[in-house]
C-alpha cells in the first residue's frame, strides 16, 4: 500500500532529496546512448561549444531528477504518472563530479472533477549543485490516488 496520497501534498510544502554524485562516466554513457553531441561526450570538443566544457545532456539531468524523486517519495506514493511537463529550464551546465540535490515544492493541489479517485499536485523541482546554485528547474503536475474515505 502506498504511504503517500494526494492529501499528503499540501501547497507550500518543501522537501529536499538526494544527494546524488554525477560522474563523468555516467554523463558520457548517457550521452553516447541518447544524446551523442560532442559537448556531452568529449572535453576538448565541449570546450569549443557554448557549454564551455563537458556537461551532462539536459535530458540526463531530467532523468537523474526523475530517479532522485522516485527514490525520494514517488515510489511510496499513489502516483498515477504525470500527463506532461509545463516547463524545464536548463540554467547552468551540470559538470562531472557534481553532487546534485532536488528541492521539491508543492505549488498547488486540487481534486479531479472527472475522477473522484484522484487528485492533482503541481510541483516545482529545482536541481541544485554542491554550492546550492540552480542547475535546472522543472514544473510538472502529478496525478495521485486519493486516500480511501472510510465508509
Amino acid at each position: 500500500m502506498p504511504k503517500l496520497h494526494w492529501e499528503d501534498f499540501q501547497p507550500g510544502a518543501v522537501a529536499i532529496y538526494g544527494p546524488r554524485l554525477v560522474t563523468r562516466e555516467e554523463i558520457v554513457a548517457f550521452a553516447a546512448e541518447f544524446d551523442p553531441q560532442p559537448m556531452h561526450l568529449d572535453e576538448a570538443a565541449a570546450s569549443a561549444t557554448l557549454l564551455g566544457g563537458l556537461g551532462a545532456s539536459g535530458w540526463h539531468t531530467c532523468c537523474l531528477m526523475m530517479r532522485i524523486i522516485a527514490d525520494g517519495f514517488l515510489l511510496e506514493s499513489s502516483s498515477m504518472g504525470a500527463p506532461g511537463i509545463e516547463e524545464v529550464r536548463w540554467v547552468k551546465p551540470l559538470r562531472p563530479g557534481t553532487r546534485i540535490r532536488v528541492r521539491a515544492t508543492v505549488l498547488d493541489a486540487r481534486a479531479s472533477k472527472s475522477r473522484p479517485e484522484m487528485g492533482l499536485a503541481k510541483m516545482n523541482f529545482e536541481v541544485l549543485d554542491d554550492a546550492d546554485a540552480l542547475v535546472m528547474t522543472l514544473i510538472t503536475t502529478f496525478m495521485l490516488g486519493r486516500r480511501e474515505v472510510a465508509p
Binding site: 541518447f34 544524446d35 551523442p36 539536459g58 531530467c62 537523474l64 530517479r67 522516485a70 502516483s79 504518472g81
Partner: protein, 160 residues
C-alpha cells in the same frame, strides 16, 4: 546543420522512427524511472495503464537520439561537399511537454520537428535562438508526445 540565417519558420524535419521493446523499456525504467508500470508486466496490467509502457522520459530521449543522428548525417553530407556547417546547442529548455498516450511494448513512434520561431540571441551575438515543436505519433497515427524546445544555433560568420 544549417546556419541560423538559412532556417525558416515552418521548416520540417522528419526525425525518424523508434520501436520500443519490452527489454529496453524495462532497462530504461530500472535506471531512471522505476515505477512498477514501467518495469513489470503484471503490475502494469493492474495499473490504470493496463499494460507495460515506456517512461515518458524514454519517449522523449528517443527523439533526441534520432535528432542527433539526423543532424550528424547532414553535417557529414555538407563536409563531403566541402561546405561549412553551423554548430547547434545547447538548448535553453522546453515547455508544454505532453505525454498524450502511453507508449506500449512494440509501438513504433514516428517523430517530427517543426521550426516555430526564430530570434536573435541577446546574450550570445554569434548565435540565434530556434524554437521548435517536436511530436511523435504511434503506428495507428495517434499522437503520443509533443513538446516545444528552444536551442542556440550558430549564425553565419561575417565574410572578411
Amino acid at each position: 546543420m544549417k546556419y541560423f540565417e538559412d532556417i525558416r519558420v515552418g521548416d520540417v524535419t522528419m526525425t525518424g522512427r523508434h520501436t520500443f521493446t519490452a527489454d529496453e523499456i524495462k532497462a530504461f525504467a530500472q535506471r531512471f524511472d522505476p515505477q512498477l508500470f514501467h518495469l513489470d508486466e503484471a503490475a502494469a496490467e493492474a495499473s490504470h495503464f493496463g499494460a507495460l509502457c515506456a517512461s515518458g522520459w524514454h519517449t522523449a530521449v528517443a527523439w533526441m537520439r534520432l535528432m542527433v543522428d539526423h543532424r550528424r548525417g547532414l553535417v557529414e553530407a555538407a563536409r563531403t561537399r566541402g561546405e561549412p556547417t553551423a554548430t547547434i546547442g545547447p538548448a535553453l529548455g522546453l515547455r508544454d511537454l505532453k505525454w498524450l498516450k502511453p507508449v506500449y511494448v512494440g509501438d513504433t513512434i514516428d517523430y517530427k520537428t517543426v521550426v516555430t520561431e526564430l530570434r536573435m540571441s541577446n546574450s550570445r551575438p554569434g548565435f540565434g535562438l530556434m524554437t521548435t515543436l517536436s511530436s511523435g505519433v504511434n503506428q495507428n497515427g495517434e499522437p503520443v508526445i509533443s513538446f516545444i524546445s528552444t536551442t542556440f544555433v550558430e549564425r553565419r560568420p561575417e565574410q572578411p
